[in-house]
Symmetry: none
Subunit: 371 residues, 2 copies
């Protein structure tokens, strides 16, 4: 059946580039002969999983939602991502998320951050468009807060319609005034049906104000161990129960109202409250800070792609699961784990997040060659 | 006996990675046959040493206190380090210390510096979390000093409990108001039993105010020739006597109250007032500025690891010396000397500190392979 899926999918979408179709057909034949190593890895992943959660067909999902490249396309069609984050303390996190989105194939990557953070983030890379518009309490008098908040919102609104996905949280900090502005930005994003990937301090914000994401199917939360713990305590009013990680994760997503949750860990667990998929292939034992930012930037791009392709007439209806936010999370998780494993092979204990980012391109090419 | 030591140590800790255990067994056999070159270098080191000081079993200590990597661990468990340093004049030193900590395997590395220094240090690397909170006299009116000092302390205290080790001094400068704030930070670190590695201008501060570290067994001083001379003059009220470097170093540590001292030199001498160990292997004739910062950042990470592993049930009780600050100093010294020697082989006279930092990962992998 997968042949029907992939070749049909290719035949219609690769009219200008024959080789991806050929590649997918060859890949199917190799898999029929049981020789497809990444597929084998997937199977091993399943074997290594406890509980009823099923391993996602990670690499095939990544291939299915990655658009073919085409000389006739124009700037912006491969994705426009915005990261809301970056303050006086944190500048690395929003940079990691924004540059990862570009390295995967997005056309434009914006960062909306505070005035202090902007020059530093700009200095990391000329590729990123950095808007120094957010303000922290220390720089705003009480009497000016209302007017400045409206000004910030107006600045972001000028761009909102153009963005395919927002990433809220990397290096956002916890300043009350800044978080209040970001809450308003999130409300406007919802009104414009722009998907929102929430990580880092964005999860701190959302955990304390669940209405920002509840019942919004285009919201994606990507908690790590501690962020997940706080969510469980706040939403389910209990402790994390690893005996029933599957059921508890389902209840959490259901309780928040069908948002998608990517629980990061040894295996990444992904749910939308209906199904739970895990991604266990590849990965690295290095836990240097910043990998979560690569993930949020990557998931944002893959969700944008999944939504566009799903709306296309040649979308392969047999791809499962159907939810584009889950497909985006599976693809983002798979790509980060692959890049992290390649970087670790190379740099071992000294692997840093910038090293992993350098392997995003090769990882994507290994899984989903351009031709 | 070392076979029992190491293999037992591996067998319990390397349940997920078999090869380090195999590596240690092979290494033991090679050493039995007298073929282990770095061990030979160690022996030569001992021969070249004057006095009763014994050469540390450097590489085995480094291997013993370096944690095995494990997919199930999460961010922070491999170490969270903070560097207190960086002012209007100096920005390189705190960067070298903080990035070295990450390159060795710490998960998170923070820098607390002045407002002027922060954007520059941030721009060196997005991997480091930089807090622009310290103030120098020129930017603070006398009437504001008390309130600003309390604010600075409150900012650091928010984080203190999370840090496994502080490095105080790299690029700190000698501004009286700033040093007064740092003194208060050190007192709070002591109250929280956070180890403190003191180097550079931190040694200037401590030499003039010994109470900051005296009788604190988790304090480590890493003086170079001149800093050591000032310490000897201040504490023992005499000149450095190289005829009795062993005895004088012991008296110095004893006099200050059992702090650990790493005296940097052709051979690094390390004591806690009870025993003196030397590290003579590897090393480079290049004396470019900044190597001391690599050392302080490395020692901070190794002390964190040594303290954690020493508390673990499978800690090898036969490892000598017992003191985790000495173990950390031996490992840090060994790794820097190895990286410096590899960088010098490569770059010769043009070797810079950044070149040495690039060899930290390979040096660690050569001595303590991941698998």
């Amino acid at each position: 059946m997968k042949l029907g899926v992939n070749s049909g999918f290719s035949a219609t979408r690769n009219c200008m580039l024959a080789s991806p179709a050929v590649f997918r057909r060859q890949e199917f034949l190799i898999r029929c002969l049981g020789g497809y190593s990444s597929y084998q890895k997937g199977i091993q992943g399943v074997k290594s999983m406890a509980g009823p959660t099923s391993e996602a067909d990670s690499e095939n999902i990544l291939r299915a939602i990655t658009p073919t490249l085409d000389q006739s396309k124009h700037k912006g069609q491969a994705g426009k991502i915005a990261v809301i984050g970056g303050c006086r303390e944190y500048t690395g996190a929003p940079y990691f998320a924004a540059i990862s989105a570009l390295k995967i194939g997005a056309d434009l990557s914006h960062v909306f951050c505070t005035k202090d953070a902007a020059p530093v983030i700009k200095s990391y890379s000329p590729e990123i468009i950095v808007h120094p518009i957010l303000e922290e309490s220390y720089s705003v008098g009480d009497e000016d807060q209302a007017s400045i908040s409206s000004k910030v919102l107006a600045e972001v609104d000028k761009w909102m319609e153009r963005f395919d996905c927002l990433v809220v949280g990397p290096g956002l900090g916890r300043d009350p005034f800044l978080l209040d502005c970001v809450s308003r930005i999130m409300k406007h994003a919802r009104e414009s049906s722009v998907p929102i990937v929430v990580d880092g301090d964005g999860l701190f914000l959302v955990t304390n104000c669940l209405d920002l994401v509840s019942d919004y199917p285009l919201a994606v939360l990507t908690p790590n161990v501690n962020e997940y713990k706080r969510l469980i305590q706040k939403v389910l009013n209990c402790e994390v129960n690893d005996e029933d990680s599957h059921g508890q994760l389902l209840s959490l997503a259901e309780q928040i109202g069908g948002v998608t949750i990517l629980r990061k860990g040894k295996s990444d667990l992904i749910t939308d409250g209906k199904t739970v998929k895990s991604v266990s292939i590849y990965g690295s034992p290095r836990r240097c800070g910043g990998q979560g930012d690569i993930l949020s930037g990557s998931v944002a791009v893959f969700i944008s792609w999944a939504r566009k392709l799903r709306a296309a007439p040649d979308w392969d209806t047999s791809i499962s699961p159907k939810n584009p936010t889950i497909l985006g999370c599976v693809a983002g998780s798979t790509l980060l784990r692959k890049a992290a494993s390649l970087a670790f092979e190379d740099k071992k204990r000294s692997t840093l997040t910038t090293d992993i980012i350098e392997y995003l391109g090769r990882s994507l090419e290994d899984i989903c060659p351009v031709n």
